[in-house]
Symmetry: C2
Subunit: 246 residues, 2 copies
Amino acid sequence: MDEHIVKSYDEELKFIVRRICEMGGQAEHLVERAVNAMVKSDLAMAEAVITDDALLDAAQRELDERAIMTIAKRQPMARDLREIVGAIRISNDLERIGDLGKNIAKRVIAVHDHPQPMQLVRGIEHLSELTLQQLKEVLDAYVERDHQRAERIRDKDEAIDAVYTSIFRELLTYMMEDPRNISACTHLLFSAKNIERIGDHATNIAETIYYIRTGAQMGPERPKSDRTTSIVVPPEAAGSAPASEA
Amino acid sequence: MDEHIVKSYDEELKFIVRRICEMGGQAEHLVERAVNAMVKSDLAMAEAVITDDALLDAAQRELDERAIMTIAKRQPMARDLREIVGAIRISNDLERIGDLGKNIAKRVIAVHDHPQPMQLVRGIEHLSELTLQQLKEVLDAYVERDHQRAERIRDKDEAIDAVYTSIFRELLTYMMEDPRNISACTHLLFSAKNIERIGDHATNIAETIYYIRTGAQMGPERPKSDRTTSIVVPPEAAGSAPASEA
């Protein structure tokens, strides 16, 4: 950590931005390994993810304090102020992404000796690929401060939600087919939900980039994220046709 | 809204603190009604909760901007700075409590025409009572800036987790008994998880109060919150003895 080196205001700003980029890389890596640990039932990797999340928590706390001290000392206005406030918001989103990854890793222990159906595992892998792609793109947009790219990224959250909805249905159907699947599927359900929420945080970051660059809120209202809150799968659907919405 | 009236620094601080208290009351009320809507299958109340959450989002955004402008303009140090930073953190927690309440309300639609077993409903009511009590106490501790009380509140999070863990087991067992319960129980499962997370946010607020008052972090590490991540209920347990942990 290069504390005490920071001297000028400009350097303080650069430090904060660089730290956000580092945290972004850590968060991506953490989520990737958490899903890998889940898919491969890799307990050692799951343990490593749980440990590493603490680093992200510490980074967020440090960035938070640093950013606030910079605001207090330097009284930045307009774009500079938005840069720092934006960094606080983004680091908060990244820290929560880390928590969600950790929560997936914790579930690996519960799921690891239950056979998981290939189709479900593929679904969760696909969901996490989309979400990690979203996260990667939003971090690139942050580096470039590209608010138009940020807008396009937000729109792509729809695709993640559609995949999550289909996994949600599949999981319920699978639980209905055989009660022995219920415990494992419940943890997969929470894991899928966590990945979907990581997508929401990527969307938050996109909105923050827009705010940093333009000083305005990205409008109109973001699309509804989780549509599964109203899904009911009738038990008759289990083992037959795809489930229908109530 | 009394914008433009705020004149002195002291008034700005008071405005921020007052607004946090208002948001706290709104968040409490929102969660209470969300759980009531769930328990009574009251769709109109659920709709009202979903609408009202937008007010909390707007209040958080306004407080955030106001607090940051105050930091930039007034360069507060030490306790004053912690007051404002603390307010930003607490309003973030309150906004997320509102989101979790809204998410419960959205699930009322999916669950409302499925018969819910009394025991489960009682469990969720009990969980929400404990959590609302925790939230109420932490808001009182904020008003009093009582960091010792905040410490005691954090310790009580254990009780909420224990009740959540028992509801989690019950829900899995109930799903195994009859596949027709699976859809509704999944939504109850997410609702219970949301209430447990509201308890975590109350804990965050307790930690922030400690920070405002003392300038230090509350130590040692907060207790592990969600222990259900490792729970596996064997299907044989359904309908018979209480489920055992894997």
